[in-house]
């Protein structure tokens, strides 16, 4: 059995999967429970509907919240459970085959694409934010970035690019967050400015 040290890329990826997967899973479960509560009682006000801008109720009632004909958080429960499990598997020291890595790449790419479509819907169409959805946005970015670096590392032709990216992966994730934060700030400018005045 080999010892995996803290800076080893596999351990880093495993930790990211475990933490990101758990964050996403908790958010998806919370959203599902709020959805069930809303179905049981149409007058139910979700715990995360604080004001006109921060309002899960508005977001959950939108057509985009059931993009595939059923509530999106069901996808999240399935997907993030897999992600956190893979995280544990990686931390346990398993070496996963290349085809499995491609599966992870496909899954996280779909997740990232879907989430960014939802970000667009939330900011420019629904005009409301939902805190649990924000947790999912936060979870998806590092999952996608680190999975992509790992996929690149697995192939000879892209290994050097992966090594270069790996040196700035945290910065890349943070910069990505900053861009999303800027878009959120811009889209709800009228609201934020009332908070600082």
């Amino acid at each position: 059995m080999t010892f995996v040290d803290g800076r080893h890329p596999t351990r880093r990826l495993g930790l990211t999967y475990l933490l990101g997967g758990t964050l996403g899973l908790v958010a998806a479960v919370a959203l599902t429970l709020e959805k069930l509560a809303t179905l049981a009682d149409p007058d139910h006000v979700p715990s995360c509907s604080l004001n006109p801008v921060i309002s899960c109720g508005t977001v959950m009632a939108s057509p985009q919240a059931s993009a595939f004909g059923f509530p999106n958080p069901l996808l999240g429960i399935a997907g993030f459970a897999v992600v956190s499990t893979v995280g544990v598997v990686l931390l346990a020291g398993a070496r996963l085959p290349r085809w499995f890595q491609w599966g992870l790449q496909a899954g996280t790419t779909f997740g990232a694409g879907f989430v960014h479509w939802l970000i667009g819907a939330s900011l420019y169409d629904i005009h409301a934010l939902c805190p649990y959805c924000l947790a999912v946005w936060i979870a998806v970015v590092p999952l996608f970035v680190l999975t992509t670096v790992e996929t690149l590392r697995r192939h000879d032709r892209t290994r050097r690019a992966a090594a270069a990216l790996a040196r700035v992966d945290v910065a890349l994730v943070v910069a990505w967050y900053v861009v999303i934060a800027a878009l959120v700030l811009q889209a709800f400018w009228d609201y934020w400015i009332t908070l600082v005045h």
Binding site: A171, D190, T194, V196
Partner: protein
């Protein structure tokens, strides 16, 4: 012979590119976001003239020297509609001839029809019927501003445009000209000027009211309380 190994202390203290770039990104973001937010904060002391603006739209006009209310409003904001039905509509009747009541546009991004409604009010103003359109927009608020069911604001521009035409017809406007004016540069620049004046005066939400250049900050939580506060303020000004 010189030592070629690096000092472990200084070696460890060097920041990795990851940490360094992260810090730079965060610092730049904090400076930019903070700077933009701070520069948008206004001053509470503004001159009555800049508040009132050139050729202001008035609901009541008792002349430039009279006690002047300036309200920044968004026609699709439910609280503004509440101010109208709970406070200012009655004020109009009770203080007619004694005060000047100026209305300025402050359409918020959160309200999809706010700008269209502001343009309708300005287009009516170009034909000298501002007050009529202002009242029509608020008297029929649920009709155009709210989605069916009344739970959320509407984004139905077509329905709003048809209703605005009706209000224009009722107010005796030339509807063809009204339609042209709504999309005109003149109307758009008037709305932009109001928004700029509002931001300069520190307006961040609607409704925001100034009485003789001083921001009115009501303590009451009901429209009746706020109305009483505003009335006592006006009475003090009218009978010093």
């Amino acid at each position: 012979m010189t030592r070629t190994t690096r000092n472990p202390v200084t070696a460890r203290s060097r920041l990795s590119p990851n940490v360094l770039i992260t810090l730079v990104v965060l610092v730049v973001a904090a400076l930019v976001f903070g700077g933009v937010l701070l520069t948008q904060r206004g001053d509470d002391d503004v001159t009555p003239d800049s508040l009132r603006g050139p050729d202001a739209n008035t609901v009541l006009d008792a002349g430039d020297e009279a006690v002047t209310i300036v309200e920044f409003l968004d026609y699709q904001c439910p609280a503004c509609a509440g101010y109208y039905s709970g406070i200012t509509r009655q004020l109009e009747e009770d203080y007619a001839g004694r005060i000047t009541f100026v209305v300025r546009n402050f359409p918020l991004q959160a309200h999809p029809l706010a700008r269209q409604a502001a343009a309708a009010a300005e287009a009516a103003a170009l034909q000298g019927r501002f007050a009529e359109m202002y009242r029509a927009l608020y008297d029929n608020f649920t009709g155009w501003a709210l989605a069916p069911g009344g739970q959320s604001v509407s984004d139905d521009t077509g329905r709003a445009a048809a209703l605005f035409d009706d209000y224009a017809r009722t107010a005796g406007l030339d509807v063809e000209r009204f339609r042209r004016d709504i999309t005109s540069d003149e109307v758009r620049s008037r709305i932009e000027a109001d928004l700029a004046a509002g931001r300069e005066a520190g307006v961040t939400g609607t409704p925001t009211i100034f009485v003789d250049g001083t921001r009115f900050e009501p303590a009451g939580s009901s429209y009746a309380d706020v109305a009483a506060e505003l009335r006592s303020l006006l009475d003090d000004r009218l009978n010093p």
